[in-house]
């Protein structure tokens, strides 16, 4: 299968005051289209940093990152924002929904950046919520939903503009086992049936079992493990 993400010799250095800390060291990584990749590793090993680079939230200090046919490490802030809007869906540990908005309005957020009419936005948000099994909860606010349900709203928000890539940073880190399995099952469906390429950071070996591949990151370097 074609390569979707091509990371070559990527380093990331953070400067804090006078101190320079290299968090990622010369990473090489290719992710095929349609892959479901889990990133594991000890705390502070650079998982979130790598994920943020893949999702175009940050730019590397050295090396190149190509997603699809785009060199995203060379994009400016504005172009990168537009690229994210149409190519990546983000799922975080703490859901990060807007507390004042209903589930439907939360899911609609990415569509505000498109040319869709209000009615089309509403319709597409409805479809996404149905896909995550929350068609009954469209008018609920985050505070009226369980953690698992909130995370499913966040997944609906991530997929509503139909991106090719989903990046998830510990999506089940704050959920009980049952909700976690719901969410992971949903991610697997999105991967298998809707062709989404998924990169997921997790601490949980059980969660990693849902992925096609698992990579370990240690002190900013990749250590490949046998395919699960």
């Amino acid at each position: 299968m074609a390569t979707l993400i091509d990371i070559r010799d990527v380093s990331k250095t953070y400067t804090r005051g006078k101190q320079k800390v290299e968090v990622l060291h010369h990473i090489d990584l290719q992710v095929a289209e349609g892959d479901f990749l889990a990133l594991m590793g000890p705390s502070g090993s650079g998982k979130t940093t790598l994920l943020n680079l893949i999702g175009g939230l940050d730019v590397p200090t050295g090396g190149s990152i190509t997603v699809g046919d785009k060199r995203i490490d060379q994009l400016g802030a504005g172009a990168l924002a537009r690229w994210r809007a149409s190519n990546v869906g983000f799922i975080f540990q703490f859901y990060n929904l807007m507390p004042m908005l209903t589930a439907q309005r939360n899911v609609e957020l990415p569509l505000l950046l498109t040319k869709l009419s209000a009615a089309q936005r509403k319709r597409n948000a409805g479809i996404a919520l149905k896909l995550v099994g929350l068609e009954e909860r469209v008018t609920h606010k985050p505070s009226e939903l369980s953690g698992g349900q909130q995370q499913r709203v966040a997944i609906a928000r991530a997929i509503v503009s139909d991106p090719t890539l989903l990046v998830c940073d510990e999506p089940t880190g704050d959920l009980d086992r049952e909700s976690a399995e719901d969410v992971l099952g949903l991610l697997r469906t999105l991967n298998r049936e809707h062709g989404k390429t998924i990169v997921m950071v997790t601490h949980d070996p059980k969660a990693a079992e849902y992925a096609d591949h698992v990579l370990h990151l240690d002190k900013g370097m990749l250590v490949e493990q046998a395919t699960v």
Partner: protein
Amino acid sequence: MKYLHLIWAALFRRKTRTILTIVSIVAAFLLFGMLDSVRTAFETGSTSAVGARRLVTSSRYSIIQPLPQALQNRIAAIPGVRKVGYANWFGGIYQDPKNFVFSYAISPEYLDLYPEIELAPAQRKAFDATRTGAVVGRTLAKRYGWKIGDKIPLQSTIFPQKNGDKTWPMDIVGIFDVSKDAANGLDQALFFHWTYFNEANAYGQGTVGWYIDELSDPSQADQVANRIDALSANSPNETKTQTEQAFQASFAKQIGNIGLIVVGIMGAVFFTLVLLAGNTMAQAVRERTSELAVLKTIGFSRGSVLMMVLAEAVLLLVLGGLIGLGIAAALGPLVTKGSGGLVNLPSLGLSTWMTGMALMIVIGLLVGVLPALRGMRLNIVDALAGR
């Protein structure tokens, strides 16, 4: 516009705090609305007299300085002047010092100079024939229950009679109505004879407060005004002839420079408002750091985050400001009516609304700019990690 629900939701994320802030904005703009309409009411009246049907001639130096009555015939002789009357401020009170009565001692021509005063011919006749006669506006008569034939003891806060008594007995001989185009407060006035006032008055014999000059050609008002003032140039009684509005404005200036007072008070109020609303906005944005980071993650540009926060601040100000001005607009006529017209709050003029709107937007931008820049510059990765 499609972001409006987002901005609205952000604004009311902390309901209590936002409502409290709005209440203080309402209070500030209510005050602004009332003060500014008072200011505009006092300050209208252009410096040019062109177009005026009547002019007022008073002392150049101070409107409380009297003029000789002998000036009447000399003004009347000026080409372009059709008729001249005069009046003197009396400073009347009725029974109690707080029952203020707008009362004037007037010359015989005075009522003819004011066609807006509608007095029945029979009552006019009675007035001319009664030395201690007085005619009063209908609103004033209603307030104290005066009827034709009543004898009232009007006191003056300024002028005693020759025997030292400050009470001036008067006979109500007429009650007048006023036409629609009459100046505010005319229907609360009391008029009596200057001759009575002059004969019995302990001071200032033969003097008048001001002259009313009726013109034959309003387009010549400026020239006629200059000719009148030339009469007494370089005399101890130099005059200043101006329109009635300008005269009223200079009357008000006795109290102080209204414009300056309004600017001073509102400057202090709005300064406090900027600090208060600025604090609300700064807090609101700080609390929403991770939400703003999510918007940026999703692909909202730096510019749109900036605009959203600015719009939120402007919306906050416009919401409170419009309510405040709305209350001021409703309150003016209400107070005027409730006080029987004694307190005359003019209704809000277009200029007050426009200035108010401009202030709302400017203060909104001022209050929003720092939080908006902060939101715009927010680093996604740091904000998401809670750094």
